[in-house]
């Protein structure tokens, strides 16, 4: 009994790493430009298909396919922000919401047209099923473990960018006060595009682990978006570590729910989200003031 409770907890924490990865890009974008990207989940799925195409059609090995896809998604994010989303950012929060909502539908149907509704998977050979025994009958899969460690590494890297570089200074300044930031010579349009590019690299990392761990098809984006949203809100707006913590809370709740009954998995996650909102409406580690 003890072991199985511990096992559930460990598996939940590891699952939380995946949700943290889903949410990190969303959190970054909201933190820098107060933009809620409703197409974030679909962009992750798009990145997963990009890796799939590079592996299956061009025959690239998975790591190389990931790197190429990450660079391509950076370009997609940069162009999307610079050419389209920047035109909608302003005092009114509705235009970017409507636009990313439309983009979400566009990506889903585009992928459906190109790849049909079949479930796909990225294959990583033996790595997929390998596990490490922790003793006492407890074992963790290498892929889930790598997911969590990658999530931690991504948050560390993003924090380094935010707090140790001139680019990060500019991100925080624009987030504080976009008008005064222009007086510092900062071109908000380019900076926002850069932030979206970075968020899409993180989305590609999320896509890699999504595709190796489970099946995906063009329709699963919105559900990933919900998980990402819940992780960001549970963690508190504006805190990247909070976002990872939020992902872990969600992952543990879902795993506990699934251990009770499979249909309880998603419900338990949403209930945990609502419970956190009741107790701490601004999440665990809110940084954003508004």
């Amino acid at each position: 009994m003890m072991i199985s409770a511990l096992d559930i907890l460990v598996q939940g924490v590891l699952l939380g790493g995946l949700y943290g990865l889903f949410a990190a890009g969303l959190s970054l974008i909201f933190g820098v430009m107060r933009l809620v990207n409703l197409a974030h989940g679909d962009l992750i799925v798009l990145a997963a298909f990009a890796i799939l195409v590079l592996v299956n059609w061009l025959g690239l090995p998975l790591p190389l396919a990931f790197v190429v896809a990450a660079l391509a998604m950076f370009a997609v994010g940069y162009a999307l922000q610079y050419l389209v989303l920047n035109r909608t950012i302003g005092r009114d929060i509705l235009p970017p919401l409507l636009l990313t909502f439309g983009l979400s539908i566009f990506i889903q149907n585009g992928l459906l047209e190109a790849f049909t509704a079949d479930s796909r998977r990225l294959t990583a050979g033996d790595f997929e099923t390998a596990s490490i025994a922790l003793g006492g009958g407890l074992a963790v899969g290498l892929v889930p473990l790598a997911t969590l460690l990658t999530a931690v590494a991504v948050i560390v890297a993003l924090n380094q960018i935010f707090y140790r570089t001139a680019m990060g200074r500019a991100f925080r300044a624009v987030s504080d006060d976009p008008v005064t930031a222009q007086l510092m010579g900062i071109d908000n349009r380019k900076l926002f595009a850069l932030a979206m590019g970075i968020a899409m690299v993180v989305a590609t990392i999320a896509a890699l682990f999504l595709g190796v761990r489970a099946n995906f098809d063009p329709s699963i984006g919105p559900a990933r978006l919900i998980f990402a949203f819940e992780a960001v809100i549970i963690g508190g707006l504006g805190s990247l570590w909070g976002t990872l913590a939020g992902g872990i809370v969600l992952g543990v709740a879902q795993t506990v729910g699934a251990s009770i009954s499979p249909e309880w998995q998603l419900l338990a996650g949403h209930l945990a989200f609502l419970a956190v909102l009741l107790v701490k409406p601004r999440g665990f580690f809110p940084r954003a003031v508004d």
Binding site: R169, R172, D176, T180, Q182, L183, M184, G185, D187
Partner: protein
């Protein structure tokens, strides 16, 4: 050729016209005071010069080249730095980061860098790691001025740098102006506090309801003339 010139400059907030044909000129090395009552258009003038309020291209010339209507970020990189009204420091950034960000996009090739700014305002060196908004009003104003200097601008625009500060603190802030001028930066000061502004300026423009009502060297202007230009009839 003047460093900065405005020619028949008009500015609007939507349908509301805030500046009516303002023409002024500033030579390298000048310290120009722009005075006027509340709502006279002083701040609008600075915002128009630094690109936050739109203007016709030929209405503002820097080194003889039209810069009116360019983006604020581009104008800053041409060498015009602004300390905005209310200081507008970045609350998520420390004192030192607030200074650094002023020079991230344009270093210029000049005297001003972190160490020279800490020499100008030693108290900032002690508080370098504090969040900028944890400082007193006067210290925050020093950060705002230092932040603008970090780009070694040709022209520094100061919008109401004495606003809300105690007289003794205002004196400290204004004491920094000679050092700034010495390093070759020209200065435009917008003030409601006429005495302070006239004491440091070699040229004054008085605005009233968006128009220049008086201009000249402070020594040549009588108190009566200033009073009339300031308040009208």
């Amino acid at each position: 050729m003047p460093l900065l010139e405005t020619r028949d400059l008009s500015a609007f907030y939507g349908d509301f016209q805030a500046l009516f044909g303002v023409s002024m000129a500033l030579d390298a090395g000048d310290t120009v005071a722009v005075i006027g009552a509340n709502g006279a258009g002083k701040s609008t003038l600075l915002k128009t010069i630094c690109g936050l309020v739109p203007a016709a291209p030929d209405a503002i010339l820097l080194d003889g080249r039209p810069i009116g209507g360019k983006r604020a970020a581009d104008i800053m990189q041409l060498g015009i730095a602004m300390t905005p009204e209310g200081r507008k420091l970045f609350p998520s950034l420390s004192v030192e980061e607030n200074l650094l960000i002023g020079g991230d996009r344009r270093k210029g090739s000049g005297y001003w860098c972190l160490s020279t700014i800490y020499r100008l305002f030693p108290v900032l060196a002690e508080r370098r790691t504090a969040p900028a908004t944890a400082l007193s009003g006067g210290q925050q104003q020093m950060v705002a001025i230092g932040r603008a200097l970090m780009s070694n601008p040709k022209l520094l625009l100061c919008d109401e740098i004495s606003l809300g500060l105690a007289p003794v603190v205002i004196k400290d802030i204004y004491a920094a102006l000679p050092a700034i001028r010495e390093q070759g930066t020209s200065v435009v000061i917008v003030e409601q506090d006429i005495v302070q502004a006239l004491a440091v300026a070699n040229k004054v423009y008085c605005l009233q309801e968006g128009r220049v009502t008086l201009q000249g060297a402070p020594a040549e202007l009588s108190r009566e003339a200033i009073h009339e230009a300031y308040f009208g009839h």
